[in-house]
């Protein structure tokens, strides 16, 4: 096979003694070997807490900004600096300061492994944040250092031969952005099973042949990340098995459980307060455009396909619709259409009860955030879900805004934001225009937040704090302020979305 990788254990490397050693030659690590030195409990605790803060920020930024965008990078960089996980190493010299920072990176990663290896949900969350962090740091690595880094970590990807490259020339060029014939000669391609490069396969950014993906050198990070994920998830599974030993350590036990601030099973909805006293139609004035669109289509067709049922149903749950109310609401609409009451009970009520954690795994599901709506499961034929700022044709969006009596200057402002791919900002602008405020005073990232803020304005600010509880991840404050105290019990986005998929599977069977 063309693709191979050598693995030798570096048994000679030990992380004790000699502070100036070459243990941490790079600004990022693959975390292959655990630390072996002794560390004090206080240090243990601070390291752990700081890394947890960092990972939570990684999660928050990933929800609020497009990963890899300028804003995202800037936020993450300043956070890394603030929590002392990075510092500039002038001319490559690894002085004490740099060494300490990298050591902290190393040790804190391994402490959190212990805290986060215990359940599938925790592992998934941890892996996701660590991957995002790794990716961010890898992209900062100077080009000439990349090969060195790969060699140091025994990651070697074998490139295809010149002959093979010539043979595939056209296909390779047509699947790689900005590659001219001249550049093709210098560009290496790595041939791997397509399963190792899903992030490139999905958007068709790579050439596929007979089950192999041909990865251009510039996208090598995909392969590395895939390796990173595979190894980390194996390691976590192993740690989980040795956990009883750790847990029996009286000193560590309380610390570790303290580090798991996420109460993974109980969440939203428990504290749900009753639906607004006003009638339903009245509160629908506070619906963001995405929900208005779903509501309208439901009223028109007396039906919504499962993507719509999920997005709208969970939103309604988030604003306080109880299970009984939800069953009533959906049944009323559906039975006006082609579905009779018996069929409704048989086919749809299960999934609604499921949404409320009354069936299946009995997880209470949380409403979708804007990011999730914008990025995942785009609407297709017959669907009305999604974000109108992202998924509607600008022309249709314009018409719709006109019909809502938005001024033409307002419409142009919105469309400009859409053009620049700032969908949430566009939605925020729409909020400002329809609520007659100059500055809405919040940064939008959740439809339920939109609703709560609107209600605050319309009803004069009573009782809104509680409304924000049922959100996918508590994003009500601007992320820079989220310095997450360890005991706060927020929800975990990635976990929620994984479980969601499971629910979606059940739903899509109907």
């Amino acid at each position: 096979m063309v693709f191979s990788r050598t693995r030798q254990l570096r048994t000679t490397k030990r992380l004790t003694g000699d502070r100036k050693g070459d243990h941490y030659p790079f600004s990022l690590q693959f975390y292959q070997l655990p630390p072996t030195e002794n560390i004090s409990l206080t240090e243990f605790e601070t390291f752990a807490i700081e890394r947890l803060k960092l990972l939570k920020s990684v999660e928050n930024f990933g929800v609020s900004y497009l990963k890899g965008s300028l804003e995202y990078n800037a936020k993450l960089e300043s956070e890394l600096r603030k929590l002392k996980f990075v510092c500039l190493a002038p001319n490559d010299e690894i002085d004490d300061k740099v060494y300490d920072i990298r050591r902290k990176d190393h040790i804190s990663h391994f402490i959190l492994r212990l805290a986060y290896c215990q359940s599938e949900d925790l592992r998934r969350w941890f892996i996701q944040q660590e991957m995002d962090l790794f990716k961010f740091r890898f992209n900062l690595l100077p080009k000439e250092k990349v090969q060195e880094f790969l060699r140091f970590n025994d990651l070697e990807y074998v490139a295809i031969s010149g002959e093979e490259k010539d043979l595939l020339q056209h296909d390779l060029m047509n699947s790689t952005f900005g590659l001219s014939t001249a550049k093709l000669e210098d560009c290496e391609f790595y041939k791997v099973p397509f399963q190792a490069a899903l992030d490139l396969v999905r958007p068709r950014k790579v050439f596929l042949s007979k089950g192999f993906a041909f990865i251009p050198h510039k996208d090598i990070v995909t392969l590395i990340l895939n390796d990173f994920r595979t190894r980390l998830s194996k390691a976590l599974a192993l740690s989980a098995r040795s956990l009883p030993v750790v847990q029996s350590d009286e000193r560590l036990q309380p610390l570790l459980s303290h580090l798991r601030p996420y109460n993974m099973t109980s969440n939203v909805g428990r504290t749900r307060i009753p639906m607004y006293r006003q009638s339903f139609e009245l509160s629908s004035k506070s619906f963001p455009l995405c929900m208005r669109q779903l509501h309208k289509s439901l009223r028109e067709h007396h039906h919504l396909r499962h993507g719509g049922r999920m997005q709208y149903g969970l939103f309604l749950k988030g604003i306080g619709l109880t299970l009984e109310q939800a069953l009533q609401f959906w049944k009323l609409e559906f039975t006006k259409g082609k579905v009779d009451s018996e069929k409704f009970d048989k086919t749809y009520s299960y999934s609604i009860r499921h949404n409320y954690g009354k069936e299946g795994k009995r997880t209470d599901y949380t409403p979708y955030s804007c990011m999730k709506i914008i990025l995942s499961n785009p609407p297709s034929q017959g669907d009305y879900h999604g974000c109108p700022f992202r998924h509607s044709d600008p022309e249709l969006l314009k018409q719709k805004l006109q019909s809502f009596k938005v001024s033409s200057t307002g419409i142009n402002q919105i469309l400009d934001l859409v053009k620049g791919m700032h969908f949430q900002l566009a939605c925020q602008k729409y909020f400002e225009l329809t609520h007659n405020v100059d500055d809405c005073g919040f940064s939008l990232n959740h439809p339920n937040q939109y609703f709560a803020e609107s209600q605050k304005l319309l009803t004069g600010g009573r009782d809104v704090k509680k409304e924000q509880a049922p959100m996918e991840s508590s994003q009500a404050n601007p992320p820079s302020q989220v310095t997450s105290s360890l005991s706060s019990s927020t929800n975990v986005t990635s976990t929620q979305s994984e479980e969601m998929e499971d629910l979606e599977q059940i739903l899509s069977e109907y």
Partner: protein, 418 residues
Amino acid sequence: MDLSVYEPASLPDLLPLYYRRLFPFYQYYRWLNYGGVVKNYFPNREFSFTLKDDIYVRYQSFSNMSELEKEMQKMNPYKIDIGAVYSHKPSLHNSVKSGTFQAQEKELVFDIDMTDYDDVRRCCSSADICNKCWTLMTIAIRILDRALYEDFGFQHRLWVYSGRRGVHCWVCDESARKLSQAERSAVAEYLTVVKGGEETIKKVQLSDPIHPLIRKSLKIIERYFEEYALLGQDILENKQCWDKVLSLVPEAVRENLLRDFQKARSSVDRWERLKKSLGPLELKKGANSAKEIMLQYCYPRLDINVSKGVNHLLKSPFSVHPKTGRISVPIDVRKLESFDPFAVPTISMMCSELDNVSTIEEDQADANEGEPDVKRRTRDYKRTSLAPYVKTFEQFLDKLDQSRKGEMLLKSDLKKEF
């Protein structure tokens, strides 16, 4: 009364006969048992039955062929769905510790349904199909079959007519059956080109350079486009329909084309003008408009949710479609152009074929009494119009067997070397 015309009301009377004498149990088991290489592969497979009055029973499973056969003959399902291979016998799913009962493997499946093309076909809508729009399914199979083989390297692709208005594909390679949910959705997304819901007008946006998948798919569409879209569907016949097409070209050329179109005589003529007007386009944007229109009108539209889930159920081959009475039959891709959904046998047609022969034979058949059941069934379906479809299925199974043997040889060879 013509017994061969299907009446949904007669289904309960016909099903027992179908399952007793016609359903190809032997081949069916041979498929899902996959050579018995993995223990419990068949017993841990989920089947679900739809019975009379829409009663839906999930998590059926059977230890072997004769159990499957007996159960089907007892329950006489209106419809059969196939699910995943689970960690335990699905029939026991309530008695295993919760959380341990998990879907482990399944064929990679695709579902293409004609209703998803309603905005681009003029001949029929929703559940209806005709020979004109069926070309869309032909194109879909051509495009996906090529990509699954050439791009993903899958060898064993079983295409099946759904019995009414669409087609299914079962990719049966071992590597396909083992794909995770994330991998399945990546494959499905890679293959999805037409995007957007009811609120999107332009559903295809090409970027430069055009990916090989699209290039190769366009080559296929080109073979059908004039005949199907310009002559058959006549997509530029009158103002109402060409307005739809014009909403997909850049605004800069729209007005000129509008004038041009009024002068032209036919869809073919108008299409030529459209292509010409896009040729010298200064703005790089829109240079691909003609291609994008072709894709929007002809590229296969997948139901991605069906492909994604390992535990998603899909209607089984050789199941009956309760509304049309037609059997879900395998399609011979080598003779794809001549596949006619309206020629697919209905359950009533086959049952009457069976009647005709049996009355003739009964007179002279005494000698054959006591013949084993399996053999008789083989002969039975062979005397109906189901025969050629079972043959296609068998050829598919032979290929599966062959590569399984090949792999085993390879493995034992490798062992010897070490």
